[in-house]
Symmetry: none
Subunit: 198 residues, 4 copies
């Protein structure tokens, strides 16, 4: 028991695969259900349209970032390390699945209630804000920066840059360069100075 109807799970997994394969516009509900191995009508028991699953997918994607950073981040390792971790992860995810920006973008835009977005991004924002607070205490960064606002800026910037690189189809070398510059841009923004290891 507690199966809690795994149909929704199936739909989500399948939808993600199909969206990734065909893009948002060219995805058909019929493909999603075929991949999921369920009946066409079953889809509509859980979602009203293919676009209706996007918020759920967006949540998964962003949650993955958060989860990754929670697992691999190390507050002791310094802000630059953790920032680089975030950049690498987000760039990598976008590289691997070029439809991520569209899913997240559309998922949020279409999500009727605004709270949904907050719900999706809040954990990630909080995580980054925590890093910033720790760095403040640590003396790594300026104490007058606003962790809440800056965490949003940082995430936004990483995401939009990652998206841009995909659109531009930059070379691996160029991507590496962007990472460097982006990292420095953000660290500058928070007055970062290398933590002194005594």
């Amino acid at each position: 028991m507690a199966k809690t109807s795994n149909k929704k799970e199936l739909i989500l997994t399948s939808a993600y695969r199909v969206f990734k394969e065909n893009g948002l516009e060219d995805t058909r509900v019929s493909q999603i259900v075929k991949e999921a191995g369920i009946a066409q009508g079953t889809f509509y028991l859980y979602y009203n349209s293919k676009m209706d699953v996007l918020p759920d997918l967006a949540q998964q994607i962003i949650s993955n970032y958060t989860q990754y950073l929670e697992e691999h981040g190390d507050i002791e390792a310094g802000l630059d390390y953790n920032l680089r971790l975030a950049i690498d992860r987000i760039f990598e995810a976008n590289q691997e699945d070029r439809t991520i920006p569209s899913i997240v973008y559309a998922g949020i835009t279409r999500s009727g209630d605004i709270d949904k977005w907050d719900l999706i991004y809040r954990p990630l924002y909080d995580l980054v804000a925590n890093y910033l607070e720790a760095a403040k205490k640590n003396g790594e960064i300026g104490t007058d920066i606003s962790a809440n606002y800056y965490s949003e800026f940082i995430i936004s910037l990483i995401e939009s840059t990652a998206r841009g690189l995909i659109l531009f189809q930059q070379s691996p070398e160029e991507i590496e360069k962007y990472k460097e510059e982006l990292s420095s841009f953000i660290l500058n923004a928070v007055y970062w100075t290398p933590v002194k290891v005594i």
Copy 2:
């Protein structure tokens, strides 16, 4: 002179209005031509699909930014002034027309050739890069920052923040606060210090 087929102009104007009204997905070619007062078939003389007009609209939107900054910006007035000008303008435009992010996003994403994006954004990037270079010379900002990369980051960040505020439907006060923080974030990122007026 340059009648340049005012039909295309009509389509563009009409499409913008309809997209703004109904959103990208729910816009129909039939609505665009109705608003434009032209025949259904005429549309296809100029564009292949409704999405095909998005790059042109995106170009208009971004060009407006550039144009505005060229007209109102003042390289003598210091980077902070010009930055604030850009922030104000972009925020305002997004506030007034909440469909701008989608148009630009989709316009660029769907634009077959990547060069199109560069074509659209290059003048704006260059403009900001010029400000940065001037500020470097001016001693306002650090000389080791890369104007080319940073200009992209700056524009991206302003745009994505503006979009976020719309989705969140923030209050005017909150928006003002965001502008302040965003401005400081960016100025920090370039090591900005107030220019000394002697």
Copy 3:
């Protein structure tokens, strides 16, 4: 005793309500069962389709007429009195529930076997025929009229006139006028003359 499956009762009551609310075409089995508070599958234990309940509803409706006339009619009171009773009742019912004509119409049309109609209407026809026979004996009406045929005509006429008034959405005054004229039309048809009270 005779619990006779109160589920069927529930379905009938619910179906009537939903038909009345949404009309025959726009009624869904899912709505009926929801209103009835029973499971979707339960419906099919008693009826094969939503249309399948119509004959039962029609029977209820027509039975109500018969029952009312049996209770309130008075064979001593003269044909005109009882006729007026029938007109009032049928008009009133149609006024109150504008979907009656459709239910009866469709209920009968779709009722596979023709005998069903007879089954539904026979008691009412017989009742009216009895009135006519009594009036014949009474000298109220001509003796050469055929009670069987005329009773059908009378009921048909009252029902179709009632329906027409609903479609036309006549005013209460106009409805009253119709009743008068209809009454006189029918009484004429049977050569009615006021019964002489000595």
Copy 4:
């Protein structure tokens, strides 16, 4: 020119045929367009649904009655003659096309505006009312009957009786008997007496 788009005509003709063949419920738009030899989408240029064509068909049917009576009726021939003509015609039409009652019934019920019904039936009502007025002048019938109300009753009665006979699937003999009785019922209702031929 002045083709005035014969597509609508095609749809109407085809729809009638298909409705007659399959009944209202079991008719598919796809069948109508196939019979009409037009594209599926073309149908929706003229009607919103299959039910949407019913008012137009109802109008045709009722107009046919009127037209027939105008052509074959003879005001000089006495009310009984013309009444019988109407009965014969309406019975015959219903016999030949058993879907007529449903078309007319549904066509009128669904016709959004009430005026439509009046528009459809008015000419027929007026025609019968004219017969009644002529008969009044002629001394054939009572002068105190209301031509307007009675004409509606007469048409209603003929139509509903014709419909009933179809549902009952009466034998030709029985139908003939009904005609006789119906005719006498109506003539009684108007106090008809044979016109004296001197």
